[in-house]
Symmetry: C2
Subunit: 456 residues, 2 copies
C-alpha cells in the first residue's frame, strides 16, 4: 500500500496551502550552506587535465527560489520522493531513452540505492520463499547471498563464451518437475548480459534475442543486471596487432554497444538495473531501475518502507555533474573515455597473462566487457584452496570461482577458475600480480618457471 | 552468512599484496576531484552568521596518502564496508558513549541508510511472519507500513501524556493467548520514547525504567527509535511566563536530557536507532544503530545484501562537518542551538493554538520533545475526514490521527486527533495555518469564530 504520509503530498499542490502535516525540518536548520565540486570538463577527462581545465560547480541552499538553479541544497537535504528527485529522474529517463529506447509506452525509471538493493527489492516483488531463480552457473556472489535469506534458490545454467545457453534454459523449464523440486516452475531469469561476473562473458545480439524468445515461451520475467554495460571494450586484437580505432562520435559509440534486453522488450517482461557504481563512483550509492509502470509502482512502494531514496547529497552531486555540467553529450563522451581506459587495462592484464602464465595448464578468454578475466587451470575442484592460498602467499589476491556458484547446496564444482579484475591495480602492479599468480599456479602444479620475467 | 566477496577483505592486510580480487574501480576514474562545503562555525550557527563567519572545508581525492586528511574522495567514492566507514563509525561511537554510555562491554554501532531502513532490517532479524510487535496505540505510520508486507502486525498499547503504560504492556503479555491470537507471544517492543510520533508524548525517566522492567520480565527486545531525542525542548512555561534559561554548558545540556533505554540496558536487550535526519538533514540518508556485538553482526550482514552502506559522499560531508570542523564539543553546541530553535517554534505554535482554536472543543498537550503537537477535538471517529478536507479547503495541511494507528485490521478509532508539526513552516505561517485550522474545526462543529484574529 502507498505510504500514508507520502500520500498526503498530493494536497501540497493547492496554492497558498500551509503544511503542518509532514515532519519536514526547515532548511534554515540544515548546517550546509554551500557545496562545491571540481569536475572534468569534456573532453579533458584525466586527473591531470582536470587539474588544469576542470570546472568548479557551486550549489547554494536556495538556488531554486533565487532562480539560479534547478536543484539546490534546501531540496536535496530534505526528505525526498521514493522514486528519486524529479531532477535526477529526468536525467536517467532521458539517458535510458537515448541508450535503450524501450519499444513500449508506459516504461518508467526509479532511482535505487544501488543494484544489490534493487535486486533485493525485485526478489521481494517477484518471488516467494521456496522459489527458484534461473541464472548463469557462476554468478555475482551477492545476487545469490541476497536471495538465500529470502528462501530463494538458484538453478545454474551452463554457459559458453557468450554466456547463458538458451536451449538449456528451455530444457530446464520444459522438464521442470515441481513435485521432485518441491518448487513451482521458475518465473524469473537473473542475468548479467555484459561482462558477466565472474566469467567475463558477454552475450551477443543473437544470443540475447534467443534468450528473450525462451523467456516469452515460458513467461519468464528477466532481471537484466547491467553494471558493466558501458564497460564494453574495443575488440581484443592480441599483443602484436594494431588496435581498432576508437568511436569518433557518440552515435558511433552507441551503435557499437550490444542491444539491451530492455531495447527488445516488447512485452514489458524486463527490469533493467543500472548503477553509477562502475561508470561514476560506487560511493554515490545511486542506481536506477527501468521497467513497466506497474512494476515501478511496486518498486517505489518498497523504497518508501526501506531505504526511502538515495542520498540527496549524492543526487545533487550527480545532477550538477551529469546534467548541468556535462549534459547527455558530455556524459556519452565520458563513457567513451571509460571504454578506452578499460580497453587499455584489459590489454595490459592479457599481455601479462601471455607473458607469465603457463599456457599448458591455464587458459583464458579475452573479455569484451566488464572488469574481469577468468583464468582456468585445466584440472578440477579441490586445487582451488591450494592455488588461492599459494597466490596470497605470493602476494596476490584473486577471487575464487567457487564464491560465485549459483546453486549453493551440495554443488560440486566441475571446473577450477579464478577471477582477476583489471579495474583496480595499475598496469605495472597487474603485471607483477600475474607474474606472482603464474608462479603460484606453477608451484601448485609442480611446473617450473618457463615463462617470462617480470623485470623484462 | 558473511558476503564471500567482502570476506576476502581479510587478506588485504598482507604487506605488498596486489589485489586482482574485488571489482573495485580505480580512483583515477572517479570524475570528482574536489568537494568543498561551507558550514557554520560554532557558536555562530544561523544562516546569517554562517554567511559572515562560516568555515569552508575542502576535501581532495588523495588527502589520506598526501597526509593532509583522515578521509578523502578516493575512499569515500569507492565501495565501503557494510558497517560504515571507519571514520564515521568512530565519530558516532564516541558520540554514543558521551550521550548513552551503555552499561555493558560489547556494544557496537553500525551505520544505516536511515531509521526506516534500520527498522525494516530489525524486523527481519527479530521477527517472523505472523508475529506481533508491541507499540504505542498510535505510532509512526512507516513503522506499521514497513512491518505489514513482512507479515508482522502490531498490538497497540494505550498511552497517557507520558506515552506507553507499563502495566498495560504487562497485562497484554501476561494474558497473551497464542491460540486465540494465532501468534506466539510478542518478543519485540517498538517505541519512540521522546516526542512520540504522532502524539508528541515523552516518557520520563521513571516511566522508562518501569517499561524496561516489564521488558525484562517478559524477555522483550526493545527497538528504541529516537529521531527526536535531541529535539527535547526547554520546559513549556505558557504564553505569559518568562522562559527557562538555556543550558549554559554541554554538561548542563547532557544532564537535561532524559536517560535513554540504551543507557539503562544492563541486559543487551535494546537496539537504539539514531538518525541524522532531524539533527543535521534528512537528505544525508545516514543514521546508525547501537546494540550488542551479536545483533550488530546480523545487521551488517543484512546491509551487505541490500543497501551495502550509506552514500560515501554523505559520509564524507558528515565527517568533515562533525569530526573535523566541529568536533564533539561543537556538535553538542549545535544540538543546544537546535533545542532552542525548536523551543521557539513550539512556543509559536502553542501561542497560535491559544489564540485561534476553540478551547471548548479542541485540547492539546504542550510537547516536551519532537516536532509534533496533537490537537484533539473532543468527539469521536467519523469527523476526521470532514475536518481534514475542511482544513485543506481552508489552505492548511495537517496529518490525520488515523494514519498512525498501530493495529490496522478492523481497528476502530475511539478518538479523533490531528498532528501538526512546528518544524516546517515559519512562525507567521504557523499562526496563519492554526487560524485556518481553527476555522475549519469551527465550521465542522458549527461553532462561530469566537477566537482571535490572525492579523492581530
Amino acid at each position: 500500500m502507498p505510504s500514508s504520509l507520502k500520500g498526503a503530498a498530493k494536497y501540497l499542490g493547492k496554492p497558498g496551502l500551509i503544511s503542518l502535516g509532514g515532519g519536514l525540518p526547515c532548511a534554515e536548520n540544515f548546517p550546509i550552506e554551500e557545496l562545491t565540486i571540481k569536475v572534468p570538463s569534456p573532453p579533458g577527462f584525466s586527473e591531470e587535465e582536470t587539474s588544469k581545465t576542470g570546472t568548479t560547480v557551486t550549489t547554494g541552499k536556495y538556488d531554486v527560489s533565487n532562480g539560479s538553479g534547478a536543484y539546490d541544497l534546501s531540496i536535496a537535504l530534505n526528505y525526498g520522493l521514493g522514486v528519486g528527485s524529479a531532477q535526477m529522474i529526468r536525467f536517467v529517463t532521458e539517458h535510458t531513452e537515448i541508450v535503450c529506447n524501450p519499444p513500449y509506452e508506459d516504461w518508467q525509471c526509479a532511482l535505487s540505492v544501488g543494484s544489490t538493493s534493487s535486486l533485493e527489492q525485485a526478489y521481494r516483488i517477484f518471488c516467494e520463499r521456496g522459489d527458484y531463480v534461473i541464472s548463469e552457473e557462476y554468478t555475482f556472489a551477492s545476487a545469490v547471498e541476497t536471495a538465500l535469506p529470502l528462501g530463494i534458490k538458484f538453478v545454474g545454467v551452463q554457459v559458453d563464451s557468450e554466456g547463458l545457453l538458451p536451449n538449456l534454459i528451455d530444457e530446464i523449464l520444459t522438464n521442470w518437475d515441481a513435485t521432485a523440486r518441491k518448487a513451482r516452475k521458475p518465473r524469473v531469469l537473473y542475468t548479467v548480459p555484459s561482462g558477466q561476473n565472474p566469467t567475463g562473458a558477454t552475450q551477443g545480439t543473437a544470443r540475447r534475442q534467443a534468450i528473450y524468445k525462451v523467456a516469452q515461451k515460458h513467461d519468464l520475467y528477466i532481471f537484466e543486471d547491467e553494471p558493466y554495460y558501458f564497460l564494453q571494450m574495443q575488440p581484443y586484437t592480441g599483443p602484436n596487432s594494431p588496435p581498432v580505432p576508437a568511436p569518433k562520435t557518440n552515435e558511433e559509440f552507441l551503435k557499437a554497444l550490444i542491444p539491451t534486453y530492455l531495447s527488445m522488450d516488447t512485452d514489458g517482461r524486463v527490469m533493467r538495473m543500472d548503477s553509477f557504481s562502475k561508470v561514476i563512483a560506487p560511493g554515490t550509492r545511486v542506481g536506477w531501475v527501468t521497467a513497466s509502470e506497474q512494476i515501478i509502482e511496486r518498486f517505489v512502494r518498497h523504497n518508501e518502507c526501506s531505504n526511502q531514496n538515495p542520498s540527496g547529497i549524492s543526487q545533487l552531486v550527480l545532477y550538477k555533474l551529469l546534467d548541468e555540467t556535462w549534459g547527455h553529450h558530455g556524459y556519452l563522451q565520458w563513457l567513451i573515455h571509460l571504454r578506452l581506459e578499460y580497453t587499455r587495462r584489459r590489454d595490459a592484464l592479457l599481455e601479462a597473462c601471455e607473458k607469465f602464465l603457463p599456457k599448458d595448464i591455464v587458459s583464458w578468454n579475452p573479455p569484451a566487457a566488464g572488469m574481469f578475466s577468468t583464468n582456468k587451470p585445466l584440472t578440477i575442484a579441490e586445487m582451488e584452496d591450494q592455488v588461492f592460498l599459494a597466490a596470497v602467499g605470493n602476494g596476490v589476491l584473486i577471487s575464487r570461482g567457487s564464491w560465485f556458484t549459483a546453486e549453493r547446496e551440495g554443488f560440486e564444482a566441475h571446473e577450477l577458475f579464478f577471477r582477476a579484475t583489471f579495474a583496480a591495480a595499475t598496469e605495472e602492479k597487474m603485471a607483477e600480480a600475474i607474474y606472482r599468480f603464474g608462479d603460484a599456479v606453477r608451484a601448485c602444479f609442480g611446473v617450473s618457471n618457463g615463462g617470462g620475467d617480470v623485470e623484462a
